[in-house]
């Protein structure tokens, strides 16, 4: 049975439901791919979610998919297929290297793989794009909206007359789907114009022509004559010629060179904003795009007369000067360290009537309340944002008071979940940014805002002073007089501009030094990989167009006032027991240069094995050195940047800054082993304790202080020695106890030995006796044998006699045939002799048995004796 148990194996557990049975997602957990294909006929749009039940990413994405499904289930069929189970069709036919895989079908077109973030809002946005790859542009205002978007746009003009579909329309439609396949972030938008007059606005005359809109460069029309009019070609042409003024960076999480490739192109401005792809308007994004556009707008800057109407921007953008103060105030009052998830919300009532937007940043903040322990909840949950939005709108009336000339934040309890709080920070943004366009061929007038005598309007006007000089935002920074328009062509420090969604990629902002105490997840930094520096937009300033412009300008000018940003580890916590001073970027100067002590500074990193194993030596050192004159400090150099001159390229590095000569720091020589005597010698050699000045009162005082220090040191030493002695005493006692124990044990063993010896002797005696009895028995046996022999001889004699008698009988038979009586007597004698024979043989057998028995007992007793010995 033992060997059989070794071969016991067990097949994998049978697959079970991955999605709940009530879910809008059809869960083919047995991997029925054929059925999945069959289902495709039922719906125009199908989303396949191929998962493996053991896969963490599939489990994490499940909830997101479920949410998207609950919102779109009436238009899209959601099918989940277990593509791991090895009996299932899916596993047999498909070969995935990772899970989950999301495939989308628009009727027969597909599969379109979704490779974006596994977040419900992004997935939903993508699904919606697959559902309607073409936007229907029916009017001039819609065209305006379409063109003003920061993402590249492709427009096709098709005349829908009598025939159901104009020639080329289907190809155009397919190319829109194609672009989703190629460019899974969906950055190129496709639109279709059916109205002749609208088409004329962008100089499209012929039905079937395709137009690529570009903000800075000339817009293009698809060259039908050069390239074949196919879906692939249109898509390729758009991808190749699109304008990338500002790019979203969305690392997919796997190994990738995305940042490497982008940042190697040159200095980059990374802008982090919270982004909800489903939101209809993105005021902050529009503002940033405007800056980007201006920055790249080289032709424009050459033009002598900027068209005043062009952007509908005769007023200078309006912002509140008090924003800055308000923010600083806020960061003091709210010490909430981290919001896992934020979204920008535009208050709906306002944007229709006002020239300003009241933009609120809404953050879910669970840290305030108790959170029930859930297992799979990703931090930025779509559901929660949704719920927060609902609560927010419900409580909107409270924000009418809030909306004023400052950014204000409030916490409020969620309407739906008692465990969550939300924080909303609101401010105003000029509405003009939302409606700018800059196509060179089109000149529109911004729709005039009609100020009706709406009740709320006056209040608002009152509380929002719009016109401000934008420069007064940043009083402490030098601002170059240069205009940002077309700056990218005029400077030799051209920036590439990138956007990152701070809901997904805030970690990069934190790495670049985004303050953990801010409650707005907005951040901008210029990263120069080649120079190994980065600059950060002052986080006390709000991230708006003007601050960004100034940031860019300050970077571009010859003697840039920007300072290299040093990332500081603010998470350092202080232990009471600490004998080594932990230095950070912020405390470096004070601790090392301003302290009136000798400073020994260790550069280390927690991950470096060679540093961590020296901890105990530095702790000992810090405990030994007189604390009045010495500081033993260390700095974690991976979390704290230092000015160039204090950087080091190897870890650990030990620097000594002698008191009064701090600028003459010395490095502990690298080829010496780091131990206590060496460190002490090194310090003694370089410390400034030995002053050979003539002894004055001061010196005497110094001397006494020193001696007092020495005395206390010696006292400590004596204390230590005392405890050492007591430890030795204890050890001594312990040893003594062990010794006496051992003695007792020895004694006991001795006694045991004696008894054993005695036992041994008795056993020996016994064995001798046994030997004797054995000999005796042997003798007896021999005698018996002799007797037996005798008996045998006797019986043989008898037999002989018998035969003799027989012969006699035979000889006499003839003679004495008639004498019956004699014959009978002879017969009885023969029987008697046979009986005798049998009894002899049985005695021999019993004797032999007895003998072996005896030997056995002797042997067992012998071995028993040995064991006890």
């Amino acid at each position: 049975s033992c060997s059989r148990a070794k071969d016991v194996t067990m097949p994998a557990k049978l697959p079970v439901n991955f999605f709940s049975t009530r879910s809008p997602v059809i869960d083919l957990f047995r991997g029925q791919l054929d059925y999945a294909d069959h289902l495709r006929q039922d719906s125009e749009i199908v989303l396949y979610f191929f998962y493996a039940p053991w896969c963490g990413q599939s489990i994490a994405a499940r909830e997101e998919i479920e949410h998207v499904a609950s919102r779109l289930s009436d238009q899209v069929l959601f099918v989940a297929v277990n593509c791991w189970w090895n009996q299932g069709k899916c596993r047999k036919q498909k070969h995935f290297f990772y899970f989950p895989v999301i495939h989308l079908y628009h009727q027969s077109f597909g599969p379109i793989e979704y490779k974006g973030p596994m977040s419900a809002v992004y997935i939903e946005k993508f699904v919606r794009r697959v559902m309607t790859p073409l936007l229907y542009i029916s009017s001039r205002s819609k065209l305006l909206d379409f063109l003003s978007n920061y993402e590249p746009g492709v427009l096709g003009y098709f005349e829908f007359n009598a025939s159901p579909q104009p020639p080329g329309y289907l190809t155009f439609f397919t190319s829109a789907l194609h672009s989703l396949k190629k460019d899974y972030l969906g950055t190129i938008r496709f639109g279709v114009i059916t109205d002749k007059h609208v088409a004329e606005e962008i100089s499209l005359v012929h039905s079937g022509s395709v137009y690529l809109h570009r903000h800075v460069n000339t817009s293009l029309i698809y060259p039908n004559d050069i390239m074949n009019y196919t879906a692939e070609n249109i898509c390729k042409w758009a991808l190749e010629n699109r304008e990338m003024l500002i790019r979203w960076l969305r690392p997919h999480g796997g190994k990738s060179l995305l940042l490497n490739n982008e940042l190697k192109k040159g200095p980059a401005l990374l802008i982090f904003i919270p982004y909800n792809p489903l939101a209809e308007i993105h005021p902050l994004l529009d503002e940033i795009t405007k800056v980007a556009l201006e920055y790249h707008n080289c032709n424009k800057s050459q033009a002598a007369e900027p068209d005043p109407q062009h952007l509908g921007d005769t007023d200078s953008p309006a912002f509140d000067s008090s924003v800055l103060d308000a923010r600083m105030k806020l960061s003091e009052t709210f010490s909430i360290t981290k919001y896992p998830c934020c979204n920008t919300v535009v208050l709906p009532q306002w944007h229709s009537i006002s020239r300003t937007h009241n933009v609120c940043e809404l953050c879910i903040n669970q840290t305030l309340g108790v959170k029930p322990n859930k297992v799979h909840v990703p931090h930025c949950n779509f559901l929660e944002i949704e719920a927060a939005l609902d609560s927010f709108y419900l409580q909107e009336h409270t924000f009418f008071q809030v909306i004023s000339n400052t950014i204000e934040c409030s916490n409020f309890l969620s309407f739906y979940s008692p465990f969550s709080y939300y924080t909303a920070c609101c401010r105003t943004v000029n509405r003009n940014f939302l409606s700018f366009i800059s196509s060179e061929k089109t000149i529109f007038q911004t729709p005039k805002v009609a100020f009706s005598s709406h009740g709320k309007k006056d209040n608002t006007r009152h509380s929002i002073p719009h016109i401000e000089d934008r420069n007064c935002f940043i009083p402490d920074l030098h601002i170059s007089g240069a205009n940002i328009t077309g700056l990218s062509c005029r400077t030799n420090k051209t920036l590439n501009l990138y956007l990152l969604d701070s809901n997904l990629f805030w970690i990069y902002a934190e790495r670049l030094g985004a303050s953990r105490s801010t409650h707005l997840k907005e951040f901008a930094a210029i990263v120069d990989l080649k120079e190994e520096v980065h600059y950060v937009l002052d986080q006390n300033q709000s991230l708006v167009g003007s601050t960004l412009e100034n940031f860019i300008k300050n970077f571009s000018i010859l003697y840039s006032p920007l300072k290299r940003h040093l990332v500081d580890d603010s998470s350092v916590h202080f232990h009471e027991q600490r004998v080594i001073t932990e230095v950070t970027t912020n405390t470096f100067h004070d601790t090392v240069f301003l302290s009136e002590k000798n400073v020994l500074l260790l550069y280390y990193a927690q991950w470096c094995g060679f540093c961590a194993s020296l901890n105990h030596i530095f702790i000992q050192l810090a405990r030994l050195l007189p604390p009045d004159n010495f500081i033993v400090a260390r700095i974690d150099i991976t979390r704290n940047d230092l000015p160039w001159e204090f950087m080091t390229d190897r870890l650990p590095t030990i620097l000594f800054f002698p008191h009064q000569r701090k600028e003459q720091s010395v490095k502990f020589p690298e080829d010496f082993s780091v131990n206590l005597p060496n460190l002490l010698k090194f310090i003694l050699h370089h410390s400034s304790l030995s002053s050979s000045e003539p002894c004055t009162k001061e010196c005497l005082h110094k001397e006494t202080v020193l001696q007092q220090g020495h005395i206390s040191h010696l006292e400590r030493e004596v204390q230590k020695l005392r405890s050492e002695i007591s430890a030795l005493h204890q050890a001594h006692d312990q040893l003594e106890a062990q010794l006496s124990e051992a003695r007792r044990e020895e004694h006991r063993l001795q006694q045991q030995k004696h008894t054993l010896e005695k036992q041994h002797k008795t056993l020996q005696l016994h064995s001798e006796q046994l030997q004797a009895t054995y000999d005796q028995k042997n003798q007896e046996l021999l005698e018996m044998a002799e007797k037996l022999q005798e008996l045998a001889d006797a019986s043989e004699n008898l037999l002989k006699e018998n035969t003799l008698l027989r012969i006699l009988v035979a000889s006499r038979e003839g003679k004495l045939q008639s004498k019956d009586e004699i014959k009978e007597a002879l017969q009885s004698e023969q029987i008697l002799s046979e009986d005798n024979d049998v009894s002899v043989s049985t005695t021999t057998a019993t004797l032999e048995e007895k003998r072996t028995d005896n030997i056995d007992t002797i042997e067992t007793e012998h071995s028993g004796g040995n064991r006890t010995e």
């Binding site: 901890n615 010496f672 010698k681």
Partner: protein
């Protein structure tokens, strides 16, 4: 060979394309606390069933709910899991097990045991339990950490292994009989790791007990391997310990070799030993030159350097963690991300993975719940705080729970293609896999102590600073406190020297000049010659002439772009 390489190259390039999608939820952070609790529950599920159904056997058989002896007969799982109990914070069970082991384990048994496995699991487990016992509230002897019952047990077990080292080369046999020594007719062929994986435990033993024999045999074996490396600087897989001829000439970083390289680095860290480090750095150069292809490490012929197997082994996944210890974090992360893609394909790491084919290798499809990739994730998380590493932890918890959890414990996955289970739960599951997972999800664990807290212990040998962090894990994940080594062997002369020097701090006039002692190559200055006769200028000159670009016992500080090297982003060197 060129053709092989070229075609291989194109396959390797393809790898960049097979990238998984979706940062999604992970980028926004996992619920670390809840995963930590799930790991804890995993531990107790396995541990309690071991105690119930398998103790005192070595291992639990999870499918049949019984036990078996595998590497000897020492209740191996219990010894191996002991320090995990403390890391999980279970002090009372730790104390109970210590007393159980003291009474129940006997090494005077007629058992043929693997020298390597007995060292890393039994000696290593007992040593770390000994060093942690005070922290766990066990009442210790006065002489602790230089004496104690668990230390004596470790020493006893180690002494049983010493006969294996009695060979002409100093390289040990692979197997030894605990009662009779090396069996007559024992094979002289030992794998490289079986020769070079002793220095951490044996040097610790020597430093704690004062008997140099352990460290001496371990060093001798290491040097013998070093002497027998090939002209291009590689070592093979198996060697004859009598004749020093290489029997298997595959060179790589995985099975059969792995912990040799690991112990060169960890020995160098533990003992501040430049010689060991310089050996490793030489090997590292050869490994990069001959076996590394686009962040994968392949197997090559040790003399020619030609690729013999384009295979990734599950055991190789320790390498990124090792790299991070010496500061090569960028390369470590890149290799880690490659290995992680294999996990994502199967829900575990197959013993062998054919890189060009992108699939498992025949007969090597199993995953016995090995810890190596998780181990690397833990080290790298310390260095980068990259959420991708927590994601691997999440995937490991989900996979192991979904695939291998059975009523009686966690079963080895016999075949990753169909997730069939085998009737075995190796002792390293509780010693390593669970421990590293827990530590990944518990950044405040005492094991991660960065030196901001420590203990002061008075011993008869003087005052010691202990538990100041910097724990060195042996290859079975048993942590060793480097400060303890310094504590017991601290010589009286050093104490007096320190005392003399301290006098100087309290006198206004300096009496002597202070010149630093040059470190001997063996690390802790064995030859304590008086350097004071050499004048300081001369010393300076010598230093300059000898000066390397940097000390061997140091890490490079991280580059600027490492700030952004998270969530899968990697950067290419400018060189």
């Amino acid at each position: 060979a060129m053709a092989v390489l070229r075609s291989l190259g194109s396959f390797l390039c393809l790898w960049a394309l097979r990238l998984p999608a979706g940062t999604g939820a992970a980028a926004r952070g996992l619920d670390v606390a809840s995963y930590r609790e799930r790991v804890r529950a995993m531990f107790y599920h396995a541990y309690e069933h071991y105690l119930e159904s398998a103790f005192p056997y070595d291992e639990l058989r999870p499918l049949t709910c019984d036990g078996q002896d595998t590497w000897g007969s020492f209740s191996l799982t219990l010894i191996d899991a002991l320090d995990t109990l403390l890391i999980l914070g279970n002090v009372s069970e730790f104390q109970r097990v210590v007393s159980v082991l003291q009474e129940g384990v006997d090494f005077d048994i007629d058992v043929n045991a693997s020298v390597f496995e007995t060292n890393i699991r039994v000696v290593g487990g007992l040593l770390s339990a000994h060093l942690l016992s005070k922290k766990a509230g066990v009442e210790v002897e006065v002489g602790w950490p230089c004496s104690g019952p668990l230390l004596r047990m470790a020493e006893e077990a180690a002494r049983k292994l010493l006969p294996a080292f009695q060979t002409p080369t100093g390289m040990p046999y692979g197997t030894v009989n605990l009662l009779h020594g090396v069996n007559p007719g024992e094979t002289p062929v030992t794998c490289t790791a079986g020769i070079g994986t002793f220095i951490v435990e044996f040097a610790t033993l020597s430093h704690l007990t004062g008997d140099p024999v352990f460290e001496d045999v371990a060093r001798k074996a290491l040097k013998a391997l070093w002497k027998n490396r090939s002209d291009i600087g590689l070592v093979g897989n198996h060697i004859d310990v009598i004749t020093a001829k290489w029997v298997a000439q595959d060179a790589g970083i995985g099975a059969g070799v792995d912990s040799y390289f690991e112990y060169l680095v960890k020995g160098a860290i533990l003992l501040q030993d430049k010689e060991l480090m310089s050996m490793f750095l030489e090997y590292n150069k050869a490994i990069k030159n001959y076996t590394k292809f686009d962040d994968w490490y392949l197997w090559v012929q040790m003399y020619k350097g030609t690729v013999s197997m384009p295979v990734f082994q599950s055991l190789e996944a320790y390498w990124p963690g090792l790299q991070s210890l010496i500061g090569d974090v960028d390369n470590a992360m890149r290799t880690f991300l490659n290995y992680y893609t294999v996990w994502k394909q199967f829900g575990g790491l197959p013993e062998f993975y054919n890189i060009p084919q992108g699939y498992t290798v025949d007969k090597r499809e199993g995953y016995p719940l090995r810890p190596e990739l998780i181990e690397s994730a833990m080290y790298l998380y310390r260095a980068t705080r990259d959420p991708t590493l927590l994601e691997l932890g999440r995937d490991a918890v989900e996979s192991i729970e979904k695939i291998s959890k059975v009523d009686c414990g966690f079963a080895t996955i016999k075949d990753l293609r169909d997730h069939r289970l085998d009737n075995r739960m190796e002792s390293f599951f509780l010693a390593e896999t669970v421990k590293y997972l827990y530590l990944l999800f518990d950044p405040d664990n005492f094991i991660h102590n960065d030196g901001s807290v420590f203990d002061v212990v008075i011993t008869p040998h003087g005052e010691c600073v202990l538990n100041a962090g910097g724990y060195v894990f042996n290859t079975e994940a048993h942590p060793i406190d480097p400060a303890a080594l310094h504590c017991c062997r601290k010589r009286k002369e050093e104490q007096w020297e320190v005392e003399d020097l301290m006098q100087e701090f309290y006198s206004l006039k300096k009496n002597k000049k202070f010149i630093l002692k040059r470190a001997s190559d063996n690390g802790e200055g064995e030859s304590a010659k008086d350097p004071e006769d050499a004048s300081s200028e001369k010393g300076e000159e010598k230093r300059n002439s000898k000066k390397r670009s940097h000390s061997l016992l140091s890490c490079p500080s991280q580059s600027f772009n490492s700030k952004l090297a998270v969530l899968g982003q990697v950067f290419l060197d400018n060189t």
